[in-house]
């Protein structure tokens, strides 16, 4: 089970790539404070205005194409860029190993309650 989102922006992939990997650019849209060593194995630290903080490690990086971060809580996010006629398609998949079991157990739990 995954959370999936997609948008098309009018800019070219290499410009969007900068927004994904340059900490200053990331602070314009991803989190309020960003540290990121944008290379495979590099570490990242993301802070949000509400006090949330997440650490990540770069699992995969293919310039202007694909960035995969592993969160320290076991989840991951993959952002892929694809050139399209009117700009760049930005495709995001965020997954956590617990997403699927939570959904399945929820269904099971309600079924069990209904039967009780």
């Amino acid at each position: 089970m995954e959370i999936e989102r997609e948008i098309v922006v009018p800019e070219e992939p290499d410009e969007v790539w900068e927004s994904l990997t340059d900490p200053q650019r990331l602070e314009e849209w991803f989190a309020s404070e960003v540290e990121l060593d944008a290379r495979p194995g590099g570490e990242g630290l993301f802070r949000w205005g509400d006090g949330d903080e997440r650490r990540a490690v770069v699992r995969e990086l293919e310039e202007s194409e694909r960035l995969v971060l592993d969160w320290d809580d076991g989840g991951s996010v993959a952002i892929e860029l694809e050139p399209v006629v009117d700009g760049t398609r930005v495709h995001v998949v965020e997954s956590a190993p617990e997403f699927a079991p939570a959904f399945e157990l929820r269904a099971l739990a309600w079924t069990a309650l209904a039967a009780a």
Binding site: P10, E15, R25, E28, G74, F103, A109
Partner: protein
């Protein structure tokens, strides 16, 4: 993101992160209610191990424990799972907001940097 407002979610996800504990919740849900002894009879683990896991799942709020004679009887509580599902929905809406901000950020930076997308006659300025 799992901290702060979503305090209990971490514990729910931690509890669900282990395949053994997941199958215990499934077994309890399937039976309606269950004790450690009943579950240990079906599973290749000791009663003590099952009892320990059940107690951890109850601490995470996934199971509700009631005393039944000398044993503790467990039943599934869906509320924390609802919270977990709600958290997943919030992850999705966080991405909606971020991607909208990314679009604005990219649009805002166009004046500062040379954009390949500018009309060839340069009339955009």
């Amino acid at each position: 993101m799992r901290d702060g407002a979503h305090g209990g979610i971490d514990r729910v996800f931690a509890a669900l992160g282990d395949a053994g504990r997941r199958s215990l919740v499934e077994a309890v849900a399937t039976r309606g209610t269950a004790t450690a002894t009943e579950l240990a009879a079906e599973l290749p683990v000791t009663r003590q191990a099952v009892a320990k896991q059940l107690s951890a799942l109850a601490d995470a709020g996934l199971l509700r424990a009631t005393r039944s004679g000398r044993e503790t009887r467990y039943q599934v509580t869906p509320a924390p799972l609802e919270d977990a599902v709600e958290w997943m929905v919030s992850v999705g809406s966080a991405w909606d907001q971020r991607l909208a901000a990314l679009r604005r950020s990219l649009a805002g930076s166009q004046g500062k940097r040379r954009s390949i997308r500018q009309p060839p006659d340069g009339s955009s300025s």
